[in-house]
Assembly symmetry: C2
Homo-oligomer: 461 residues x 2
Amino acid sequence: MKSYHPEELFDEQGRFLPELAALAPKGDRRMGANPHANGGKLLVDLDLPDFTDYALDVKTPATMSYENTRVLGTLLRDIFVRNAARHNFRYFCPDETNSNRLGDVFQVENRTFEEKIIPIDDHLSPDGRVMEVLSEHLCEGWLEGYVLTGRHGVFATYEAFAMIVDSMIVQHTKWLEGALALPWCKPVASVNLLLTSTCWRNDHNGFSHQGPGLIDTALTRKGAVSRVYFPPDANCLLSVAGHCLRSRNYVNLIVIDKQPHLQFLSMHEAIDHCTRGLSIWPWASNAGNVEPDVVLACAGDVMTLETVAAAWWLRQHLPELKVRVVNIVDLMTLYPPQVHPHGLADATFIDLFTADKPVVFAFHGYQRAIHQIIHGRPNAAHFHVRGFNEQGTTTTPFDMVVLNEVSRYHLCILALRHALRLQHLTPPLMQECQDLLARHHSYVRTHFEDMPEVRDWVWTD
Amino acid sequence: MKSYHPEELFDEQGRFLPELAALAPKGDRRMGANPHANGGKLLVDLDLPDFTDYALDVKTPATMSYENTRVLGTLLRDIFVRNAARHNFRYFCPDETNSNRLGDVFQVENRTFEEKIIPIDDHLSPDGRVMEVLSEHLCEGWLEGYVLTGRHGVFATYEAFAMIVDSMIVQHTKWLEGALALPWCKPVASVNLLLTSTCWRNDHNGFSHQGPGLIDTALTRKGAVSRVYFPPDANCLLSVAGHCLRSRNYVNLIVIDKQPHLQFLSMHEAIDHCTRGLSIWPWASNAGNVEPDVVLACAGDVMTLETVAAAWWLRQHLPELKVRVVNIVDLMTLYPPQVHPHGLADATFIDLFTADKPVVFAFHGYQRAIHQIIHGRPNAAHFHVRGFNEQGTTTTPFDMVVLNEVSRYHLCILALRHALRLQHLTPPLMQECQDLLARHHSYVRTHFEDMPEVRDWVWTD
């Protein structure tokens, strides 16, 4: 230790020499106070358009289809325009902007490209603000650095590819946790992750591209910084995106597929639904104000379709069965409130899911994750969850949900099995669902597409 | 499509031309049959030493300490020696072989290094079979390629760093799942991952190095290929490692810390315990053959220490309380048997954990993962789990378990709170535990080390 020459640094009483202490930087030159390192000091709110301007006109639920992520592409386009002078917004993506239906951004922005540009190149320029490169590590790392230095951004990727950077996301949440404990560390914009091209629908890709694992990683993060949203349609996506782009110090996962999906809610209904985080869908329910025989819960676009179609089928075949449909946008509402700040009070949880009625839950991700979340809820034992179970590969949309046992017919069977009040009526209906599943199995292997009554299904009263 | 010139490939009836079909390779020249692509055809069993030769002589439980991973280093050393002529074993590590106490391998092997070697270099050679490079991606990818081409290996890493490659591990398990469905695809050696330097003990590292998330990823994998082991001491580690090195087509996670820890079982006891996957530890229990008031369950080395110390404290202070200690080595035994092939039958599960008595469970990883696993068990609602909760940073070993509320005193409080038969006796003891926690808080911030009664604690009868 003598080689450090302490006699040059301290006086005889062991005090640090004042002329050396005077060398330390002051004010904003201090490391933590320097705006380059404390980016929240430089943060300027995004000039956001009114997201309701991009609303789809949904007059009746579950009758028209749309590629949900397209509306977000238009919103992102206009964010680029409104904030061009501020230079404080970028969008990051591993080479799938068009595939993910976000291509409207190219009406006003280019991809960053620093090399020579030749005539066949498509929307490249050195000052482009679309950061497109086939490296999730680069995209996520750039976005982290960008928000930590006081700017805003969105990272969109295929759901399965997000796992590649989950350890980076873990470290960012740990940084945010640490920063929250330091009053001088100013809030920064959230890291917004759009997971699209999900496990349930990825065109010609198969088993290797089916991986909702980042949701499980998000569930291990502290409630102070971690958020997971499952907007069921385009208007809900707009509402969720509007919230996430205004939020601070979170990692927001938004999970929604890019393919055409049925639209459920008007803009007005979507805002109400997303503000609550979850709610009863009265139009899909037939329980009215009475306690239902069974609750059908769902989180995720494809799961919502199967659940609503199951409610419809049950209403057609057993109108005496009182069904309540609950859709969950904000997954964290299901946590007990002592675990996550979004967690509903137990009384509200019971208002929605009942105290002791069966809950058939169709979950976008790995099914047992829901049990991890709802442990401690008074009616946790009554939840029967189905979800992604590492089954299926390149196949039709409906065959994916059949193989993972979360199809509308599987949900009907579960609901009928647990609806004890009407058990004298349910065996033939359960058999009918099994017959439909058998017919599907045969049909899809003959025709390479789903049965017309599934493919073309829409809600009717 | 015409540009493919189908008229050159098919006859007028649309049949593939026989002279072209004859060009396809035959026998072992076919892609799937080629031993280079179907490495299981080349697989030769490792010549494994008898792992009991490396046993620690544990005469009484929880009285002597040892760095658990050291015995594995010696075992790996001798595997290198016995299989030198076969050239079919390698060990992979991101630069921490010595830090992880596996340095005995350098008695017989070198690190691979292809550049010029200079005098200050330490155990480098171009033909070394220790693959040490500070890239988890390289280590994991190399090991995957090595086992897929018919060889054997082990990858050791700091627990938190394993998350960096979890998407690669997911893809390997998906490959194994696919291979299991193909009878011509021959079994390959398992990918063996040793996670050491765990979240509970990593010397001078802190919050960024605390991450047991790979366990959660392993839980989402199909039961056919996924295994997680928590050997509580050195003899159990030997037994688990012996099993994993013989196994085929799995991804085996072995989670155990490198620091000195108390030793619990003799080699004979360890083999029996690990073969069952979990068992009652009679020496730490005082319930004998009667139903206990409370079960103390634990998985993980540090969790086992805290649990055994809690059982000891309760026996000292409330001998009327009948406690049963159950230690879990094979986490997958807790799954219902329809979810994982290692899952215990419900009757056996109840024999161990009782039908309705409180179970205080100290878990190495994120605590809510246990609820995901045990959902569906008849007594799931009686499990009170504590585990890693993203609390703590660089601090003393005991402060880490205190901050995460899984210390021996926290476990005692939980046990006392739920032991209804003796609730007239428990309030002063719960207060005493709170007092001890307060004393710890003050002591550790004054002395920068744990209280002597914690630091030096050993089992006494």
